[in-house]
Every structure is written in C-alpha cells, then in structure tokens.
C-alpha cells in the first residue's frame, strides 16, 4: 500500500470536512435550542458569495469574511423572526432561505461582476493561505525520495495536519469550544434546556426568545465561516454558483449521525468528508482494494448511512424534544 496516497486522501479529507464541520456545529447550536435549521445551505452560500465578492473588491480576505458573517446573520435574523417571533414553520422558513440564497447570489453576482454568477478569480491576499504549523517540514521543497525516508508521523503531521487554512483550525477548535459552551457553561445548560423543555426555562424567569435568537445567531456565524472556507480558502479562488452543492444537507445528516453532540459531530464530518474526498479520486479505491466503486455510491453514502441511523438499526437518534415547535408563552 502506498502511504503517499493515503496521506493525500487524509489531507483532502480534512479540507472537505471543514465546511461540513462548521455547518454541522451551526446546526447543533440551533437544533439544541429547539430551532430546526434546514437553511444551513443557504447561509453558507450567501457567505461564500459575499466573502469572495468583498475579498475581491477590498483585497482583504478578512473583510470578506466579515461581509459573509453579516450576510449569514441577516438570513439568521429572518429565520429567527419567522420561527421565533412569528411562530412560523421552521422547516418551510429554511427551505425559503435556501432558495433565497441560491437565487440572490446569482442575481447579485451577475449584476456586480457580470461573469455569469461567479466572482472574479481571487489572487493572493484575497484568500486564506495555507498555515504551516510550528515544526512542520515543507514537503514541497523535498523530493519524493527524501519524503519517503521521513518517519511516518512526521509526514502525517507535516502533510495532513499542517498546511490548511486558518479557518480549518478554527473549525477544529470550535469542536472543544462548542462542547465546553454547551456542557460547562450556564448559557449552554439553558440552551440545551430550551430545546428540551422551553416552558421550564420560561418558568425559571429566563427569556426563551433571547436564548433561541442567540443560538440562531451563533449558527449564522458558524455557517458564514463555512461559506468563506468554500470560496476563499486555498485552493478555492472565488465563488461559483450553487457551490455549496448540498453540503448543508450533508451537515444535517452528520448532525443526526452524531446524535446532536459536538465530538461525534467531528467524527461524522470527518467520515463524510472522507467519502467526498474519495469521490474525487475513484482510482484510489481501485488501487487500494482492487474494487471499482461507482462514485455515485460514494456521494450517496452520507445519506444512506443517515437513513440507516434514522431507522434505528445502529442506536436511535433522538432529536431535542422541543425541536421544531414554536414556543407559545400564554396558555
């Protein structure tokens, strides 16, 4: 077996898993507070467009990220208004947000840049570069033979763990942070409670509304980072129409797969990221296992696995109890 291929595969697994992970954690915060969020996809898409667009115009990738966050938060606010204030159907609101994003990004980008729904190519400075972790060896400066002679762990560290965008590391750090916030802070306790039994939280004199709005806002920020990763982190160089390509839904699937918990979310996203990485390299399967797997099967894998999980064959996935229900104070 060829270690180079494996390392390459793991490297692209981490890269493809990053937006999934961020979106999955976004869904985690929202759904744990009792607000279903089908609109992860749309928020990512709007942020991907704004991040790339503003990074191109201002030349600063960070301003781009800020613009992405602003756009994503706006959609979050709409979702919050629909599902918290006006007690509307959260699923329908999410569907509407996805369409809004998918349509508006093309309409606006066509109007701003006139390139058929994409942003111009981003140069250096307009996108997030590769971060070299301390102690990592620059493998690109070595020959293949020299690389092969390095210890495997060094290669793993330098090749797989190092050299991603800063957003990837933010995503990875967001996992323990989310765990800490949800399970070790007062805010997290209340947030989880509001998703299980909002009436109890209300009785304790805590605002259900404010908690849910803050959860939806956190989800907006996380989705925005996910979107920015898609369009402005190397090797990506700009926005392409509908570039999220169902990642929001894969993130939802990962959320169920992880049973609404942060650490398993990391595992689920890495698994689904691995499938996506494999999908782009069908030759690897042939080489590693001497097995021809249709790439369509690989792309369907996250969904099939989620359905199996939902069917309860591999432990039941029980969503937060008050999920999807608007809270009515007066009874």
């Amino acid at each position: 077996m060829d270690w180079n291929t494996v390392l390459l595969l793991l490297d692209s697994t981490i890269r493809t898993a990053t937006p999934l992970l961020l979106a999955c954690l976004a869904g985690l915060f929202s759904e744990r507070a009792g607000i279903f969020d089908i609109g992860l996809e749309g928020k990512m898409l709007v942020s991907a467009f704004l991040a790339a667009g503003f990074a191109y115009v201002t030349g600063s990738v960070w301003l781009g990220l800020l613009a992405g966050i602003a756009g994503s938060l706006l959609l979050s606010a709409i979702h919050g208004a629909a599902s918290i204030t006006f007690r509307g159907n959260q699923l329908i609101s999410g569907v509407a947000i996805n369409f809004l994003a998918s349509g508006l990004t093309v309409v606006v980008s066509q109007s701003w840049f006139g390139e058929g729904g994409r942003t111009p190519q981003l140069g250096d400075g307009g996108r997030f570069g590769e971060v070299v972790l301390p102690g990592a060896i620059r493998l690109s400066e070595m020959t293949i033979r020299e690389q092969r002679e390095l210890p495997l762990l060094t290669r793993f560290y330098s090749d797989v763990l190092s050299g991603h965008s800063i957003l990837t590391y933010i995503a990875l750090l967001a996992v323990p942070l989310s765990w800490w916030v949800l399970y070790r802070t007062r805010f997290g306790l209340r947030l989880r409670a509001v998703g299980e039994n909002p009436a109890a939280v209300d009785t304790a004199g805590i605002s259900v509304r404010r908690l849910r709005y803050s959860a939806v806002a956190i989800a907006g920020v996380l989705c925005a980072i996910a979107g920015a990763q898609l369009s402005t982190a190397e090797p990506a160089a700009g926005f392409i129409r509908d570039m999220t390509a169902g990642r929001g839904y894969i993130a939802l699937a990962a959320l169920i797969f992880a049973k609404w918990r942060p650490w398993p979310a990391l595992g689920a996203c890495m698994l689904f990221g691995f499938f996506q990485a494999l999908e782009t390299r069908p030759d690897i399967f042939v080489r590693l296992f001497d097995l021809r797997v249709p790439s369509a099967l690989l792309s369907a894998m996250p969904y099939i696995l989620t359905v199996i999980i939902l069917a309860g064959f591999v432990g039941r996935a029980i969503p937060p109890r008050a999920g999807g229900e608007p809270y009515v104070k007066e009874r």
Binding site: I38, I78, A81, A82, S83, F86, R87, G88, N89, Q90, L91, I92, S93, V95, A96, I97, N98, F99, L100, S102, G103, L104, V106, V107, V108, Q110, S111, G117, G246, Y249, L252, A253, I256, P294, A296, L297, S299, A300, Y303, I304, T306, V307, L310, A311, G312, R316, A317, P319, G324, E325
Partner: protein
C-alpha cells in the same frame, strides 16, 4: 369561533403575501438597475401573450400541479413531503423502463402504462421514509431530503453506466421509440393552416394533471380515507381515539403523495424529453412546496398557484433573454412566496385578524350585555390552515 371571514383567510391573506413578495422582488430588480414595470410587461407578454407562450407556461404548470398536489395531500395529514424531487426523479426512471424495454403499439396504451409506472416508482421512493416515520418516528423531512440525494445518485449511476447507450457522451438514455410519443398541444389543437403551440412542450399530460386535481379533491373531501387523513392532520390523538391507525394513514398518505410527485415524470420525460435525462425534474418538487402553500393545500388553489408559477418560470426565461435580469430571479420570487405564505404567514395573518376583530367590535354596539362575552372567541387554537410537520 372564526377570527376572520373565510374569504379573508382564503383570498386576502395569500394576496397580501403575494403583494409583499412582489414588492420585494421589485426592489431587487430596481437594485440591479432594471425597471420592474418593464420586467412585468415582458413577463406577461412572454408567458401569456401567444399560444407559444402558453405552450411553455402550461407545460411548467403541469409539472407544478403534480408536485403541488403531492405536497398538498401530505399536508392534510400534517406530513411535510420535501422529497418530491426524488420521487419525480425515480418516477422518471419508471417511465423510462416501460418506454424503452416494452413495445407499445399506440400512445394511449403507453400513456396509461407510464401513469402506472411513474406513480408506482414515485410511491416506492416515498415508502421507506413513510415507514420510518410511522414505525420508527424518524423525521419525514430529513428522510425525504436524504432520499432526494440518493435518487440523484442512483440516476447518475444509471445514466452514466447501465442505461446509457454506448457511443454517446450525454448522461441520458436512448430516445424512446415512436410508439410512446404522446401528442403535444400542437398536435391536438392545430387545425388546417393554423398551427398553434408551435415548438412548445405542453402536451396531453396537462389533462391528466387536471384530472388528478379533481381526483385528489374527491379523495380528500368525499371519501372515508380523505376524512381519516384530515382527521389525522387535525389531531393525531383524536384520530387514534376514533380508531384511525396512525401507521396506516402515514404510509398511505405518503404513498399517494409520492405517486403524485412521480406522475410528473409523464410530463417531462414521456411528454417533453422523450428520453430520460439527468436532472429532468429541475427542482419542481421544491416548487411544489410553494404551490401547495399558495394554494392552501386545496386542489383548486394548487391548480391556480401552479399556473402562476408556470407563468413565473416562462416569464422569467423570457426576462433573461431580453433584459440583464438572470433567470434565477424566479428562484428569488419563489423563495419570497414560500417565505411569506409559509413561514411568515403569521406576520400577515395577525394584523389582518386584528383588523377584523376591531371592525367587528365596533360594528356590533347593540346588546351591550351580551356583547363582550359573545364576541369573545373561544380560547381554542384555530385549525391549522397552514401545513405543519408531523412530529
């Protein structure tokens, strides 16, 4: 009991929602530097101005009637079928299988067989989500979304592998044989020298769709099953108490809903493309959500809303040809319609309700003793006129 007159609920609230959606769309069009009034004129001429325009508008409307009915029927049982896309995709597979691999002497027989096959395949694709919702309590929204993607993957596999004729580059099956070609509107309505609907995809399936509207109306309001479905939608607990089994209702409703979505394939696959292509559904399953919401889950409403969306789609296509407004503007309008009629329904409804309550309070000053108490609406939640999801 009634917080507002029925006409306000059925007409006024959707109309206000539509006006709001149109207003925001107009603002978007203004913002990208085009004239909304001009855009509207182009859309009306382009979608309604000629038999050519109608040929496209009604073709799109036919798709949306089927997917709209699918969503609407499920809504009556409080099930949110978001999987119309997948079900219609797999319905197309059913159509392709019978059209390609069986000989058909006449199009009428082929049409009947296509109806059966597309409905059966669509229903089959809804069966697993239905079973999982009924027996395992897995959320139908999530499972139907997953099945959409599984359907795309399945079709991608089939159209790049087993069902692709050798020697072509396209991801599509071979063209269907002559015997399966159902008549288009041009064949039906052109007489002598005057050729109508030239080059348009509208076909005889439109009448199947109208028939489906009537049948769904009869099913929901004139049959025992329809009664049970509605009862289940109003209150699952009460329905169960009345001896209506939840498993049966969920499964049967979803099978019917999937079958309706699957039927769309006779329009786009048998009628238009005359072969199975990848992404033939083009998101019509999702438009069905907007159509069902607009149409208040009533077949007549679904029909009207489907024609409205057919108008939007054809008008939007014309718009992108003659202005700088891209076709995706229609997606924005569609999103706004879903948002205002679905998710933000209360934002429109609550002020309207208040308006009527105020008018009624002022309008009946007589009998002051009985007045306030009689006026007071019982503290019961209004029946769900907007669909919600099953939990």
């Amino acid at each position: 009991m009634e917080r507002m007159p029925r006409w306000a609920d059925v007409l006024l609230v959707p109309l206000i929602s539509l006006i709001l959606a149109a207003a925001i769309s107009a603002i978007v069009i203004l913002a990208i530097g085009e004239n909304p009034w001009n855009a509207l004129k182009i859309m009306v001429t382009g979608a309604l101005g000629s038999s050519y325009a109608w040929g496209y508008t009604l073709y799109y409307a036919t798709n949306f009637i089927f997917t709209g009915l699918a969503v609407a029927l499920a809504n009556h049982a409080r099930l949110f079928n978001i999987g119309g896309d997948g079900q219609a995709t797999v319905g197309g597979l059913g159509v392709a299988l019978i059209a390609l691999y069986l000989p058909w002497p006449h199009w009428t027989l082929a049409l009947l067989a296509a109806i059966v096959a597309s409905a059966a395949f669509g229903a089959a694709w809804a069966a697993i989500p239905a079973y999982l919702q009924a027996k395992r309590g897995s959320h139908i929204v999530i499972t139907t979304i997953m099945f959409n993607y599984i359907a795309y993957a399945l079709l991608t596999y089939l159209l790049t592998g087993p069902m692709k004729p050798s020697g072509t580059m396209e991801t599509a099956t071979a063209p269907f044989p002559e015997g399966t070609h159902i008549p288009s509107f041009r064949d039906l309505f052109s007489h002598g020298e005057t050729i109508l609907f030239r080059g348009t995809p509208a076909n005889v399936t439109f009448f199947v769709a109208v028939l489906a509207c009537v049948l769904v109306w009869m099913l929901i309001w004139k049959t025992r099953l329809g009664y049970e479905i509605r009862a289940f939608g109003f209150s699952e607990g009460a329905a169960r108490y009345a001896g209506i089994g939840s498993t049966k209702i969920i499964v049967v409703t979803m099978l019917l809903s999937g079958a309706l979505a699957g039927l769309m394939a006779i329009n786009n696959t048998l009628g238009e493309a005359e072969r199975l292509i990848l992404n033939a559904v083009e998101g019509a399953g999702f438009i069905g959500i907007a159509v069902a919401l607009m149409g208040r889950s009533h077949p007549l409403g679904v029909f009207l809303a489907a024609v409205l969306f057919g108008f939007l789609y054809q008008g939007g296509a014309e718009l992108s040809l003659s202005t700088s407004i891209p076709r995706e503007m229609v997606v924005v309008i569609q999103a706004l319609v879903i948002m205002f009629t679905g998710a933000l329904d209360n934002m429109v409804r609550m002020p309207v309700e208040r308006l009527f309550a105020n008018r009624r309070a002022r309008g009946t000053p007589v009998a002051p003793l009985a007045g306030p108490t009689a006026e007071r609406a019982p503290d019961r939640a209004a029946p769900p006129s907007t669909p919600t999801t099953a939990e």
